[in-house]
Amino acid sequence: MGGTPLPEGIKLIDEKGLRMDGRRPDELRPLKIEAGVLKRADGSAYLEWGDNKVLAAVYGPRECHPRHMQDPTRALVQCNYNMASFSVDDRKRPGPDRRSQEISKIISEALTHVVFTEYFPRASVDVYIEVLQASAGTRCAGLTAASVALADAGIPMRDLIASCAAGKIDDVVVLDLMKEEDNFGSADIPIGYVPRTDEIVLLQMDGDLTADEFKKGLGMAVDACKRIHEVQRDALKRRYAVDDAAPKGPSPALDGTKEVQ
C-alpha cells in the first residue's frame, strides 16, 4: 500500500467520478478466464484481469510431500503462489519471498474450506499459481484462477471461490484497484467469497479506513464476487461445450497478437 503523495497534477479520480482508466468506482477491469489450458496438469486455468496474466494448475489428489506433513484424516490443500521474474517492472529475483509465502498460506486456507478434503486422507492437492504479468490484485486473480483449476481437475468441492479487492483512492471507496491506484491509494481490501453460502474465506485489509468505508468496500467486493463467480462457471462450462466444428483442445493464447505457424 502506498499512501505516498501523487505526482503533481495526477488525480486518481476526477470530478466526474471517473478513474484513471475511465472506470466508475464500482466497475471491474475486463476479466477473461479459460479452463483446461495445460496438458500435463490435472486441472488448470488461465486468467486475464486488467493487465494481470495468471496461470493456475492443480495436481492431485496425490501422495503428500513432504511426508511428515501428511494428515491421517484428510487431504492437505497446498498452494504455491509465485511471481515470474519478468512479471513486474523491476525484475523480481526467482524464488519465494515473504510476500509470496504469506499469499500462498492464505490462499491454501481459503481453498481448504471448500474442498472435500476428508475424501482423501493422507493425500495432498497441490495448487500452483504463477503470475506471468502483474498489475495489482494478483492474489485475487490467483485465488479466482485456482478455484477454476481445482474444479477443472475434478477435485470434489462444495463451491468455487471468487476473489476481488476493494480499496480507497482520494477518499473514495472503489472496486478492483489497478496498479497506480494500488501504489498511490490509501487502503486495500482483498476478499475471497463463496456466493452460494455468503461466506468470506479470505480477508485482508491494509491502509486507513473508517468502519463505514470498510463496510462500503466490503459490500462492493462481495457484489463483484458474485459477477466473477459467473465468469468462473462459464469458463468451466465452455471447456466442455459440445461443438464439433470447433477445434478440440485449449487455444494457445487469448490476446490478439497471435501468430500461429
Binding site: L38, R40, A41, D51, F86, S87, R91, E130, Q133, E259
Partner: protein
C-alpha cells in the same frame, strides 16, 4: 484431467514402432512438432515470447537493469540466463531452487546465445567501465512434454528479437530495440536404441539413452553443442545431426 491420452508405454513398445520406422505420434524421425511463437506475450518484460512446440509450452521473458560491467569486459553489457522448471509444468518437477536439469537448460541456451553472439553486448554499454545494461533471460516452463532446450532457445531468440532496451524508464535517453546480431537456433535429438529422433516428446526422452543439442546460426556456423544422458553417439550420427540442425534451424528461424 486436461491431458489427452497420456500413454504409459514400455520402452519396448516405442522401440517396436521405431523398428517399423514409426514414432508414437506419427512423425518422421527428423520432423519437429508443430511450432507456434507469440512475441510480446508479457507487457511487463522488456522482451518476451511464448513458444509451444507440440504440447510443450515455454514462456521466456527478458528483463534489463543497469549495473556494473565485468572488469575484463568494461564496454560490454552482461547477459545472464535462468530457467525455472516450475512444478506447474509437469508432475516430475519439484519446487525449490533450480536443480541440475534447469541449470543445464539455462546454460545450454545461454551458450547458444552467447557464443552465437546473438546480442551485440557493446551496444548495451551506457558509460564504459561504469554502467552497462544487465540482461536477464528468464525461461519459464509452463507445460512440459519434452525438449525444453529447443523450446527455450526459440523463445529466447524470439524475445530478444522483439525486445526493447528501456532507456527511457532509466532516464538515459530513448528506447531502442535490443541489438540482435545473430539468431542461433538449437535442434535437439535423442537416441533410443540405434534410432535417432528429433524433437523428443516427454515419453521419448524418458526412454532415451542419450541426447544431443546442436545450435547453429543463420550462416550455418556451429555455436554450441551439448550431449546429455548416459548413452553414446557414434561420429557419423553426430555429423548427420549437425546437418539436420542446420537445415531445421533455418526452417525454424524463418518462422520467428
Amino acid at each position: 484431467m486436461s491431458k489427452d491420452v497420456v500413454a504409459y508405454m514400455k520402452k519396448d513398445y516405442i522401440e517396436k514402432l521405431l523398428a517399423k520406422g514409426e514414432r508414437v505420434d506419427g512423425r518422421r524421425f527428423d520432423e519437429m512438432r508443430p511450432l507456434s511463437v507469440e512475441k510480446g506475450y508479457v507487457g511487463s518484460a522488456e522482451g518476451s515470447a511464448r513458444v509451444t512446440l507440440g504440447n510443450t509450452s515455454v514462456l521466456v521473458g527478458i528483463k534489463m537493469i543497469m549495473g556494473q560491467p565485468f572488469s575484463d569486459t568494461p564496454n560490454k553489457g552482461v547477459l545472464t540466463t535462468n530457467a525455472e522448471l516450475i512444478p506447474l509444468a509437469n508432475e516430475d518437477f519439484e519446487s525449490g531452487p533450480p536443480g541440475r536439469k534447469a541449470i543445464e537448460v539455462a546454460r545450454v541456451v545461454d551458450r547458444g546465445i552467447r557464443e552465437g553472439q546473438a546480442v551485440d553486448l557493446e551496444k548495451l554499454c551506457i558509460v564504459p567501465e561504469k554502467e552497462v545494461w544487465i540482461m536477464f533471460v528468464d525461461i519459464h516452463a509452463l507445460d512440459y512434454d519434452g525438449n525444453l532446450f529447443d523450446a527455450a532457445n526459440i523463445g529466447a531468440v524470439a524475445a530478444l528479437k522483439s525486445g526493447t532496451v528501456p532507456m527511457k524508464r532509466a532516464g538515459k535517453g530513448e528506447d531502442y530495440p535490443i541489438p540482435l546480431m545473430h539468431e542461433p537456433i538449437s535442434v535437439t535429438a535423442v537416441k533410443i536404441g540405434k534410432h535417432i529422433l528429433v524433437d523428443p516428446t516427454y515419453e521419448e526422452e524418458r526412454v532415451a539413452d542419450a541426447r544431443l543439442t546442436i545450435a547453429t546460426n543463420e550462416a550455418g556456423r556451429l555455436c554450441a553443442m551439448q550431449k546429455g544422458g548416459e548413452g553414446s553417439f557414434v561420429v557419423d550420427e553426430v555429423l548427420q545431426l549437425v546437418e539436420n540442425s542446420k537445415r531445421l534451424g533455418a526452417e525454424i528461424r524463418s518462422r520467428i
